[in-house]
């Protein structure tokens, strides 16, 4: 793999990046920060009804060799 050494490209991208957040992942819930016990399960539970399925999604993915639950159903 060879990365770009084009400095103008980086300058331009950095300017774009300065105007936005670039992070990706699951959506936060404002409740999570104040619930330390939820931290271990938060990656799986955010956006779902609290108290159900904690940790289940990630565990399922691990067992199935990374078949995210969204892949087929949502492609229509």
């Amino acid at each position: 793999m060879k990365m770009s050494n084009d400095r103008e490209w980086l300058r331009k991208r950095a300017e774009q990046e300065d105007r936005h957040f670039v992070s990706l992942g699951v959506l936060t819930s404002p409740l999570e920060e104040d619930h330390p016990k939820a931290e271990q399960s938060e990656l799986s539970t955010v956006g779902r009804k609290r108290g159900r399925g904690f940790g289940r999604i990630d565990a399922d993915r691990k067992r199935s060799g990374q078949q995210p639950k969204t892949s087929k159903r949502s492609q229509s």
Binding site: K2, A14, H20, S23, G25, T28, E42, L43, S74
Partner: protein, 209 residues
């Protein structure tokens, strides 16, 4: 993989040498928890106190240490960037489980970006909230470049897919030029964004919009 890459030093405006690598360990995850997370939460509190909920990032709750088991999985890959002895950004991608949704590419394999985070001291919107300057610029772009180049190297022809957080949608669609292919109800209604091979090339060669 260990490759030299350049970043921009915000204090001097000069280019500085950093290192892109894929040998992520649990120590890197712990580093994010120890040094990144408090700063993100601090900025979040400041923004909320000022009534700027619109600027609060959607990732204040993340904990990379929960991802330790994924380090062993062949279908997963992590890249990080280090500079000045500190982790400046990290990304998790996966090579199975997702397919293209854009009509011209539908059903083809792609590289899926699961998580990407830049150290908070490199995020202008956060550091502005804290009244401090950013340290390095271009970290997220370098990570995203690495994903696209990895996609090319691994035969995915530059195809990349991701579910964008609301706070990042403008970056991936407007600035990077990805196609927004609808919201995914099965994934928190996040926006599905995708690079076709042509768009990936445009991103790498300079054009964005």
């Amino acid at each position: 993989v260990r490759l030299p890459v350049e970043l921009l030093d915000n204090a001097t405006g000069e280019f500085v040498e950093a290192e892109l690598f894929d040998e992520i360990t649990v120590e890197h995850f712990l580093e994010t928890k120890r040094t990144w997370r408090p700063l993100v939460l601090q900025a979040r509190r400041k923004l909320l106190a000022r009534g700027r909920e619109d600027l609060v990032p959607n990732y204040a709750h993340w904990d990379w240490t929960t991802k330790e088991p994924l380090l062993q999985m062949l279908a997963m890959k992590f890249f990080g960037i280090e500079c000045g002895g500190k982790l400046q950004g990290i990304v998790e991608i996966q090579m199975v489980g997702y397919e293209c949704r854009v009509p011209t590419q539908r059903g083809r394999d792609l590289v899926y970006v699961d998580y990407l985070q830049v150290a908070p001291w490199n995020v202008r919107l956060l550091m502005d909230a804290l009244g401090k300057p950013t340290q390095f610029r271009g970290v997220g772009s370098r990570l995203f470049e690495a994903i696209v180049r990895f996609s090319l190297d691994e035969g995915f022809k530059g195809r990349v897919g991701l579910h964008s957080l609301p706070s990042s949608e403008a970056f991936y669609t407007r600035e990077c030029g990805m196609t927004a292919a609808g919201r995914d109800r099965a994934k928190q209604n996040l926006l599905w964004c995708e690079f076709t091979p042509e768009q990936a090339q445009t991103f790498l060669t300079g054009g964005a919009r």
